[in-house]
């Protein structure tokens, strides 16, 4: 007995659905498996339906476009994946093989169906994964594009700033240079070795230790490094560079790499150097200018002295000739004016050279005001200015050089008078504000344009050249005033509404810290008094000066004062004259043509007859050095040239 299942059984219950159709699709035979899967009865299918009717719409399309032509031409199609529609309308994914075979005159299609649910699911998964991977890839590409764009952008920025980036992996010691850095240093990546050593070798050997040291320190201290060094360009020349950066660390705190930026500072260094040079040059020029002005002032003074002397003489020789008197007065006024100008110039340049000494005392502002008014009063009266003074009710005490404070205030008053048209008004006030003394001089004059307000205190600035010509002046008055104010630790400011709207100058000075209720220093010596030596007996005076006019005019003036004068114009003649004339006083110019005055003095002092003589030195600059030299050479006194007659007289009085 055969225990094998029969063929029909094997057909009906095969592990796949088996169907036979005509070429046009009509179903002729189905097996049980197929019917079970699709939940149809055999009689519902056989001779009743075409196989296409069990397909979905998409399946039917596919049947027409691919299945049928292929079957026609190849005689078979395999692994068709299609959804079949079950009795209840649900779709069942299936895998189909078809073979067309001739049977007698007709052809029949034999179909095998497998349920492919799992496979479909698997494929779906695969497709989904593939899609995700594709999306991720697309995303990645997008990000890479963005990144590249940003990198390009950054590269442009870095290149234009002449910067570059580098990094070093601290494990492999592999060094990476950014393209910008390679370009800066003129190296192509083929040439560069990318090792730590190669990188260091690009650095000037004198800077290598510093560079390495700074980087190392930064790594150790977990800080930034910032170091300057020289980098060698591939063409040989050196670039001044600045490197900045820091290390990166792993989670455990171990240094993983160094990253940094290097900046080509050659240009800025070159600029710095140039700037320094320019500054130096400017400084030198400024100093030279100051020196020049000082020399100029001094030189201008020289001719003034004899002129003043002669004017004094002329005053003595009183002339009834009105023309003579008028001439003399005119010349004196102008010599006086010139003297003031030159004195101002001298003062300003001395202040700028730091050569002014203040003789500070505690003084009452009210006294200074009084003196200043006296000085400027005449000018204000002449222009018929309306002058108001607000004297402080309580004493305001400042620590100051009285002469200089008077100078400041009277300068401001004079300015006000000069720049206010006739009939205008000027006011002066002084108050205490907190710990400052505030002095204000206001006028209703031509005013100061806004843009000039900060400029007025600069030397040689003047607002209206035309007006200035008529009023006279170099424009240094305010520069001088500011210099003096600042020497006292104070400030001065100018205010004005503008053209034609008047001006106000405000000086602030620190109030003196009173120690005790002291009596304040009295009034300053009035320098305008001319004291003549008429009360003393005539002295024998030897004047040694190679400036003939100066010597002779001084001699004449002294003679009028009742003294006996001898003149010499050089050292040797002077020495001989001293021995012969035996004067009481020798006025010795230092700058003599043969031997200088110090020599003459020393020679005189070596003589018995010269030991008690009153030797007065006449020096050019009046510096401490000169005073010391004079003293060491044996001089009793020292005067600055050009000799001021009043000062000389004062010394003579003491003899």
């Amino acid at each position: 007995m055969d225990t094998l299942p029969d063929i029909l059984s094997s057909f009906e219950y095969a592990a796949c659905g088996l169907v036979t159709t005509e070429v046009n699709g009509t179903i002729r035979r189905v097996n049980t498996t197929f019917c079970k899967w699709l939940d149809f009865n055999a009689d519902e299918l056989v001779d009743a339906k075409k196989i296409q009717e069990l397909f979905t719409v998409g399946g039917r399309f596919f049947h027409h476009t691919h299945w049928a032509p292929l079957l026609q031409l190849q005689g078979s199609v395999s692994e068709i994946q299609m959804d079949l529609v079950c009795r209840n309308g649900k779709t069942l994914p299936m895998l189909i093989n078809v073979v067309r075979k001739k049977h007698g005159d007709l052809s029949f299609d034999q179909l095998a169906f497998f349920v492919a649910t799992d496979r479909k699911n698997y494929e779906r998964e695969l497709l989904s994964t593939r899609k995700t991977a594709q999306d991720s890839l697309a995303s990645l590409h997008e990000v890479q594009r963005e990144l590249q764009k940003n990198r390009d952008f950054l590269s442009v920025a870095i290149s234009s700033a002449r910067m570059g980036i580098w990094s070093e992996d601290l494990h492999t010691h592999h060094v990476w240079l950014s393209p910008e850095l390679e370009k800066l240093a003129g190296i192509g990546s083929e040439k560069f070795n990318n090792t730590h050593e190669a990188f260091l070798n690009l650095i000037h050997k004198d800077d290598q230790a510093l560079f390495a040291g700074e980087v190392e320190r930064a790594v150790r201290e977990k800080a930034d490094y910032n170091v300057e060094f020289r980098l060698q360009h591939a063409e040989g020349f050196w670039l001044a560079m600045e490197a900045r950066g820091h290390a990166t660390y792993s989670d455990s705190g171990e240094a993983v790499s160094i990253v940094g930026v290097v900046i080509d500072v050659s240009d800025s260094k070159a600029t710095e150097e140039k700037l320094r040079e320019l500054n130096q040059q400017l400084s030198i020029n400024d100093r030279r200018k100051d020196e020049f002005l000082a020399t100029l002032a001094h030189e201008l003074r020289n001719p003034l002295a004899p002129m003043r002397n002669v004017l004094e003489i002329m005053r003595f020789k009183e002339s009834t000739d009105p023309f003579m008197r008028w001439s003399r007065d005119l010349i004196e006024r102008h010599v006086s004016q010139m003297t003031h100008l030159v004195d101002d110039l001298m003062e300003t340049s001395r202040i700028s050279q730091g050569r002014v000494e203040l003789r500070k005392q505690q003084i009452n502002i009210a006294d200074a005001i009084q003196h200043a008014i006296e000085t400027s009063h005449a000018l204000m009266e002449k222009s018929k200015h309306n002058f108001i003074v607000n004297k402080p009710e309580v004493p305001i005490i400042i620590d100051a050089d009285s002469t200089r404070i008077v100078q400041i205030i009277s300068n401001l008053l004079t300015n006000a008078a000069k720049y206010t048209p006739d009939g205008g008004s000027i006011s002066l006030s002084a108050v205490q504000h907190g710990d400052e003394a505030v002095i204000s001089v206001r006028d209703s004059g031509i005013g100061i344009p806004r843009e000039q307000l900060s400029n007025v205190f600069n030397m040689f600035s003047q607002l209206k050249p035309a007006l200035e010509r008529s009023q006279g002046g170099l424009g240094i008055g305010l520069a001088l005033v500011r210099g003096l104010v600042e020497l006292h630790g104070g400030t001065i400011s100018a205010h004005s509404e503008g053209d034609g709207k008047g001006s106000e100058f405000i000086v602030r000075l620190p109030i003196a810290k009173l120690e005790t209720n002291k009596q304040f220093a009295g009034e300053t010596q009035n320098q305008n008094d001319v004291e003549y030596a008429s009360s003393i007996d005539g002295l024998r005076i030897l004047v040694v000066d190679d400036n003939v006019d100066a010597a002779e005019s001084l001699a004449l003036l002294l003679e009028i004062g009742g003294h006996n004068i001898r003149i010499a114009h050089d050292g040797m003649t002077g020495l001989a004259a001293a021995e012969e004339f035996r004067p009481d006083v020798v006025l010795l110019d230092i700058g003599l043509p043969d031997i200088n005055g110090y020599e003459v003095a020393r020679s005189i002092r070596q003589q018995l007859w010269g030991k008690e003589m009153n030797l007065i030195a006449a020096t050019g600059w009046g510096q401490d050095k000169d005073k010391e030299l004079a003293h060491n050479s044996g001089f009793n006194n020292h005067l600055t040239k050009p000799i001021d007659f009043q000062k000389l007289n004062a010394l003579l009085q003491k003899t």
Binding site: V23, N24, G25, K50, Q52, T56, V57, G58, G59, R60, F61, F62, H63, H64, T65, H66, A68, P69, L70, Q72, L73, Q74, G75, S76, S78, E79, I80, Q81, M82, D83, N97, V99, R100, K101, K102, K120, E123, L127
Partner: protein, 267 residues
């Protein structure tokens, strides 16, 4: 760009008149293997593959260009220019029939007449027009194609079962038949089945024969009727055939229909 290479052009036979065969959606010029022998003695037979199908140059598949069937129409005109300077007889199956239609509107002087096998100018129903399908049907088609192309990509060899018995199969039938890039196939399907070129029908004055299959799921009879009525110079001939490819499943009837049309009108 070499048109011969791009479209895998084959020139078979000689004759005064050139006849150009254009395959439909899904396969390639091999579809015409039953008709070619009949015509090659009297005509110069031109066979080609649409770009993206068969052994055409897949690299020439420009998604933008072939976003519309006009892209293929332009190719067809180039092919005609390459092979002849005389007006041709055009035989187009399914989507290629519409491609031919567009080309005949563009360059009517190049067409003697056109024979459309299983054509449809629009597959989707629209008001009174019965194209045969809804839009979702077309979506389903695209999914089905996609599923099957996963298994049929050109890198995998098919298991052809039971084929050797068939004498009709020539050796030149290779494994690449009906296989192409899945993405291109998907794209082509969308372009084909979503196209609507009804407005071109009245514009084509070329003498036209419409071969309509009696039971064609893809190009139903309503479509054939519509086309014949709308075209100014068209004849409708019904071929008894279940399916969409009468030139494969009923080659004799197809040949007969074509030849009698040509004889009647031109020879």
């Amino acid at each position: 760009m070499n048109v011969y290479l791009r479209n895998n052009i084959q020139v078979i036979g000689t004759g005064a008149t050139t006849i150009v065969f254009a395959h439909g959606f899904g396969c390639d010029q091999n579809m015409w293997r039953y008709l070619t022998p009949t015509f090659k003695d009297r005509f110069k037979v031109i066979l080609f593959d649409l770009v993206g199908s068969g052994k055409s140059d897949l690299a020439a598949y420009d998604y933008k260009k072939y976003e519309s069937l006009q892209g293929y129409a332009a190719d067809l005109i180039e092919i005609i220019n390459e092979v002849t300077d005389q007006p041709i007889v055009f035989v187009g199956h399914s989507v290629s029939a519409v491609i031919g239609l567009l080309a005949s509107v563009e360059a009517p002087e190049k067409f003697r007449c056109q024979i459309m096998i299983g054509p449809s100018p629009c597959y989707i129903n629209d008001g009174e027009y019965v194209g045969g399908f809804s839009r979702s049907d077309v979506e389903e088609l695209c999914n089905t194609i996609d599923n099957n192309y996963l298994g049929w990509s050109s890198t995998m060899a098919p298991a052809i079962m039971g084929a050797p018995e068939q004498p009709e199969l020539g050796v030149e039938l290779t494994n690449s038949f009906c296989r192409t890039d899945p993405e291109i196939a998907k794209h082509f399907a969308r372009v084909t089945f979503l196209s609507d070129h009804r407005d071109a029908l009245p514009k084509s004055t070329t003498p036209t024969l419409i071969l309509q299959c009696s039971d064609d799921f893809i190009a139903p009879c309503t479509v054939g009727d519509y086309m014949q009525k709308t075209m100014p110079n068209a004849e409708l001939c019904i071929i008894d055939n279940v399916g969409h490819c009468p030139h494969l499943s009923a080659p004799d009837a197809s040949t007969l229909a074509i030849e009698s049309y040509l004889k009647k009108n031109f020879y």
